[in-house]
Subunit: 563 residues, 2 copies
Amino acid sequence: MDETRKIEEILEDEAAKMEAEAAPEPEKDADATIMMPAPIFSADEKPAEKPAEKPASSINAAVINPKADLAALDALEFELFALRYAMGELTSFAEVLDPDGATDDRGEAVGYLMEKSTNAVCAPEVGAMLDRLDANPAILNATQAAQVKIIKRDRAELLDVPVEEQVALAKLQNESALVWRKAKLSNDWASFEPYLDKAVEAMIRIAGYKNPDKDPYDVWLDDFEHDTDRAFYDTFFSEVKETVVPLLADVVAAGQPTEKIEGVFGEARQWALAKELLELEGLDKDRLWVGPTEHPFTGGSSRNYVIVTGHVYEDQVLSNVYSMLHEGGHALYEQNVDEKYNRTSLAGGTSSGMHEAQSRFFENYVGRSKAFARPLLTLMKKYFPGPLGRITPNQLYVAANRAEPGLIRTEADELTYPLHIIVRYEIEQLLFSGEAKASDVPGLWRDKYKNYLGVDVPDYTRGPLQDVHWSEGLFGYFPTYALGSAYGAQLKYHMIADGVDFDGACASGNLAPLRAWLTHNIWRHGRSKDPAELIQGACGEPFSAHYFCDYLREKFSSIYRLK
Amino acid sequence: MDETRKIEEILEDEAAKMEAEAAPEPEKDADATIMMPAPIFSADEKPAEKPAEKPASSINAAVINPKADLAALDALEFELFALRYAMGELTSFAEVLDPDGATDDRGEAVGYLMEKSTNAVCAPEVGAMLDRLDANPAILNATQAAQVKIIKRDRAELLDVPVEEQVALAKLQNESALVWRKAKLSNDWASFEPYLDKAVEAMIRIAGYKNPDKDPYDVWLDDFEHDTDRAFYDTFFSEVKETVVPLLADVVAAGQPTEKIEGVFGEARQWALAKELLELEGLDKDRLWVGPTEHPFTGGSSRNYVIVTGHVYEDQVLSNVYSMLHEGGHALYEQNVDEKYNRTSLAGGTSSGMHEAQSRFFENYVGRSKAFARPLLTLMKKYFPGPLGRITPNQLYVAANRAEPGLIRTEADELTYPLHIIVRYEIEQLLFSGEAKASDVPGLWRDKYKNYLGVDVPDYTRGPLQDVHWSEGLFGYFPTYALGSAYGAQLKYHMIADGVDFDGACASGNLAPLRAWLTHNIWRHGRSKDPAELIQGACGEPFSAHYFCDYLREKFSSIYRLK
């Protein structure tokens, strides 16, 4: 870690001294796998300091034309940007606006763009170009160095797995998704069971291509959130389990509060409220599109065109409010990546977990805080003075923080949510280690839901068939949802330690100080830093679960008047 | 030329004997301008009979691999389809949905897709492939032959003009559009005048690249509507002028009817009405997106995703109704091109004039007919029973057909519209022949508006500065608007002659018989036939203006009780 830091500093110093304009003309028609001799530097500059350290073979194999390589990097990035921009808009609007009849044509068009993008990254000359740049860090500024690192990683993701294996997987995913959909509707575990076994087998095999020296489940955990593995999550989840399982038992024993938000909340007004809420959250509406869909999500084309969707239920205003605050958190991250990373592979959030940290931050740490209840209620009353007339901020706070064991992950509250994740994480581990087969899953599910959440699972539909993930071969992804919440708690702690008046900002409804801290420490970096680096940089320490556990213990002990 | 012809004939003979399926694999990495020797035939087939007759040079220069060429054609078409699909959606939604902040990124992304698409068509190997296929019609089915013809034409459009000239034109267009916008706002002809002269000069020069043997204005007329020239439009417009100028004078003398549609028509209901109107018109809503914009247009990605936009004014329900019927006509054409042309260059309407024929057909011939007034009013009353309660179908018919000389083309009615076009056509001709300069335009404009429409032009803003077209270098485009109306009248006449009960269909509100005739004769052909071929095929005769003149004379004589 120290070593890396040192090298980066050296590179930055050197890069600062170089004149990109002074680099030689690109080599015309040169075979990219055969490289030309010796880098050429600005006439004002001495050569990089350590060429002698380079092994002889690399001198022959890696002749550099920095100007040509940097131009090729720029051209590649621009092509990827343009293709992603188009794919982003086409796929984001797919379920939102497109008529049903467009499905096939859109699929073909997006498939073409995807293939173009894959081919652009996987071209052999791109591999050679990246290797040359990587071997000559002195010619790269910090942004270019990060671009090379990230594109190399993206490239490896695409190239590590043989094409036949990818095709076979796509076929399995298609079949499996169809079977799962039917199985869920008809509460039929038996039909899905063989597909789950096949999916685990396939993902173990594919993990072997990606890294044969590593435990397959660790491969997937790291794939979705870099620098995580079973040891990391075991530590995290055991602390969460020790905190939440007894805490939840106490909450249940204490009985539910009576505070509720009820009424009929008209659709048009809910949308107006949603839009004002996004503005209050701090989104730039000149770079945002907001509209209705079946399942809310955040998508878009670039930091300058972020798409947030929501779904209004006229009897549930809180569902829309918290869904908007959640998606708005994702959107803030996307909109606030440094402008200089736009149109490069460094645009966008760095990982699933870090993205979820931002959405949960605004949904829960801000949105469900006592301090924020007042400005939130003021806004809600502006649109719904009737049904909310007599509600107090404290009543809203309590109603929005109701914690109750349930069967469905996506409907879970802040306290019980991580337990749903732990059930899945533990079962995935058993499937990957071979200690369990698909046929064991319903029993494991039943036992773990009983032990951790205290609920009886009445059927498969509300049990192990509820989520789409496994049918798509997604293993190791669920844990990032819980990790995001825990990142958020740690970020909140250190934001306050850095002097941000968190409660004051929430109470005033002016969240600018929170956004400034998050922009500086997380958002602006885009994909240039991995999540562990961001946490270390923001908090001065590695990830730790105890902030999350402390937060849950204090909050729910207080709301449910425990002890 | 003769030499080429001979070689082509030889190749055709050979190609006719070949089994496309038995052709060898495409030559990998072969330079397309260098062709490989001797086709390989199916094992069941004897070799072609005349290899010895081939001139030695042609053996080297033109060897055919039909399977590879047809595969290359398919691949090219698929690439063009995918790029157009993406560009179609991105540009259609640009002014409709996109936040302002997206403008630059979208511009860059669309620019990339456009360049990809241009490069795909202009690649030298594509030219060689098209030439080979064109020279071997026996291996092409009718669709493929039409594809080759149309792609060759599209390619020539892109390649005929030197790149420097295209760049200079783009620069002039940008400047000129800015100057025009300001000039229009400030009624300042003088500032725009030099740009109009420059634009005419540029377009004359560019026409020379396209076809040095042809009059430049004829080049542009043909460019926008194939097989038209000054002689064609002179005949058309003189007949229109002879009919409409005196007819309009009589209409004005007769005085305006008192029928009017007035009231406040709420936005949400107008949108619901618009959507039901599009369904009544016959659009497939599973392949349609409808939504609001500033300036109504029809766009989209493919026949399976057509985008219709409109603009609601709460005091003008007829504006929305007729705008929807108009855009719906464009959309019907796009949706009903033969499915087999989807994902090829034959998708979409064949020309500006033929597209306008479809939109005017549904806006005017159907929408403003006496027979359609009843079902239209029934639908309008469903949404606006209050303000329309006492209106009769005949009152709607009269109100919707008010004819009045005015200054603004885009606000003109069915009768006066062609006169606005004739003014522009005559001035464009004078500018291109050198008989007039930009400085003469205001005077010409004033005189012609007085002579044809009987109105005094009070300023430049409502005079020659009203349209954007000239500032963009669009000359020869205006005439297609009027031609579309006239095509429509001829189509209507022959539809009835073919036995379609036009008035019966309109009166019943079931337009299926009209759509069936138009689908068969026009829509399904997409770009596979030029407008003149379509008119000949549909009507059994070439275009003739007298149907349009007869229609206007009868209709407005009756409404205004002339004679």
